[in-house]
Symmetry: C2
Subunit: 365 residues, 2 copies
């Protein structure tokens, strides 16, 4: 079977690498002829809004999925009744922070206080209602911290409005969180679901730098899994879904969801019985899902901006290295590495040493 994928980034690349052993073929669509997945699978090159190209992708494949959220829902919908997974409704909700908040509220998933902001007057109103500090964000097309501003003062608000005010915005309370987690799960066409253990994430400048899993909190795991299942069921979802949470005083506060495989789940390639990529494919192909059990205590470190020398990385004899085949550029995710250890203590000790070598700016408690 041939799987069409809109977006050919590293997520798409890892999908193809998980799909080849299952005997699947792939066809990607991306703007860049040098896209990571295009190096290992056939690629249609053009805009994500190009309906002719999307039509070709759909024609030549049995099922269409995506590795990137900022694609046109209208263009996908124009493909009609074709098999698109995850459901386009879920993508549409995730693309709009206001719809996302409304969904969380409807499903009784705790989230931040928020106000939609479409004018200076609404911004002033939101600032009064929610107070400072807060975060002003574009409703759409944000990722890796792009299109956001933290507001500590009226002056900040003014500057942020100048920068972002041309797009529809949302103002959210600033959560002084204790730490961040995410949960990833898959649901297949038959309605079966599997949920991975909680990821404990460390971001810097809006970019994920480190994930450790499983987080040892059965209580948080239970709540997060319940919330994830609520969203999966709501959409009759098919594929992998991720929700990111802040944790404050032992409570989960949903930040956002991603209707796709997620950077915080890269450790599942070596660290879980079945990777998030394989389970996404199993789900959309209508196959039984694989176990989401962790095979040890895992850590994933993102390699940003430039890759360390391969020889130095691989000198760590049980480190798993993933090179996305991308050109170096400041702030760009170029690869990641993963550790799987028998104990959390040993994993943490190794993470500390690796961070000192690879990303000394990242400190972990």
């Amino acid at each position: 079977m041939t799987i069409g994928v809109v977006g050919a980034g590293q997520l798409g690349r890892m999908l193809a690498l998980a799909g080849y052993p299952l005997g699947q073929d792939f066809l990607f669509l991306d703007r860049s002829p040098a896209a990571p997945a295009g190096q290992i699978a056939p690629l249609l090159c053009g805009e994500f809004t190009d309906t002719a190209l999307l039509g070709e992708l759909a024609e030549r494949t049995e099922v269409v999925t995506f590795d990137w959220e900022n694609i046109s829902v209208a263009a996908l919908r124009a493909l009609g009744q074709r098999r698109i997974c995850p459901p386009v409704r879920a993508l549409a909700t995730a693309q709009d922070r206001v719809s996302e908040k409304r969904l969380f509220e409807r499903l009784r998933i705790p989230t931040t206080r928020w106000r939609a902001v479409d004018s200076r007057a609404e911004l002033a109103h939101a600032l009064r209602a929610i107070g400072l500090p807060g975060v002003l964000k574009t409703r759409r097309m944000g990722y890796d911290g792009k299109g956001q501003a933290v507001l500590h003062s009226a002056q900040d608000a003014e500057r942020a409005w100048e920068r972002l005010g041309q797009a529809p915005l949302i103002y959210e309370e600033y959560v002084p969180f204790d730490f961040e987690v995410s949960i990833i799960g898959a649901r297949n066409r038959q309605g079966e679901a599997v949920i991975y253990p909680l990821n404990h994430n460390v971001h810097a400048r809006g970019i994920l730098r480190l994930t450790r899993a499983p987080l040892a909190s059965p209580r948080l795991q239970r709540y997060a899994a319940r919330y994830l299942r609520a969203v999966l069921t709501h959409f009759r979802y098919v594929g992998v879904l991720t929700i990111e949470f802040f944790v404050r005083r032992g409570r989960l506060i949903a930040n956002e969801m991603a209707p796709r495989v997620h950077n915080s789940g890269h450790w599942t390639i070596e660290g879980a019985v079945t990777s998030q990529f394989e389970n996404h494919l199993r789900a959309i192909l209508g196959l039984p899902l694989g176990s989401a059990r962790a095979r040890g205590h895992c850590a994933m470190i993102n390699l940003i901006g430039r890759l360390p020398p391969r020889r130095r990385l691989l000198a760590h004899p049980d480190l798993h290295f993933h090179d996305y085949g991308k050109a170096a550029r400041p702030g760009r995710k170029l690869g990641h590495c993963t550790l799987v250890e028998r104990t959390a203590r040993r994993c943490d000790a190794r993470v500390r040493r690796l961070l000192a070598e690879l990303a000394p700016e990242i400190r972990i408690p």
Copy 2:
């Protein structure tokens, strides 16, 4: 870097799947346009003896390796000083059962008694010297039990001579072995080596059907590793090397070697910290080798002739399935599946159940 691979079978395919995460590119050469690795990487299509095509492969790649032994040593040598790994000398030795026996004897690796047979007179002489039963084999181009005959009587010998006598032959004693094992290791350009735990193999009709690893015998492990290291050192070997042994009364008897990744090492993809495929690539790229430690008690079952329905296979929630993308044909290796369990007992119990479902003709003790 681009790696050239002569042969684009399932071994080549799994090499590419291990190399993509390391950021490597591949170019394959194979006779068949439908070869498994050609479905996931660029393929030059032609004869393995085509020196122009081999030249093109070498020109377009930084290092050349092979996933198949029955290729022309002369054609590879004609490429001159280009980087070919493993060394062509090792390939030449492995291609000729007589050279292989001589090497084992020279390195004091116990092997079967044998005689080269190039005429009826030599066959008669070999039968007298070694006795019956015995195995008459072509010296070259045998694999998966092809080009072999077990002789129990003078009549068998006559029939086998009629069938095989046009090629140079070898006559070996028949070893009534207790079981079969293989050992796999890698040596890199710097001379570092790693050795995987022993594989316990079950063949039927000359084809590997089941491997379980690690075999719990520190003594056999020690001997097998010593023998493997002797061959690695002898050739200043670079890449993965396999030796297959019979085990009789607790002693190892070398049967043959393969200068490549090996079917009995497929379990290392999920079952070892670093797979044999990744370590082969690390070795030939001059990178540090990864740990060859097993991550549990593993079993690999070959899927021969036709694949079971994917849905049924994947209903086992922690089974790993590998589809080579080959057309079904009796006796053909089409895929394999792997289990990784915490205890040998649990692994064996699951293997029994899986064999009953997938290959009821295979019985294990």
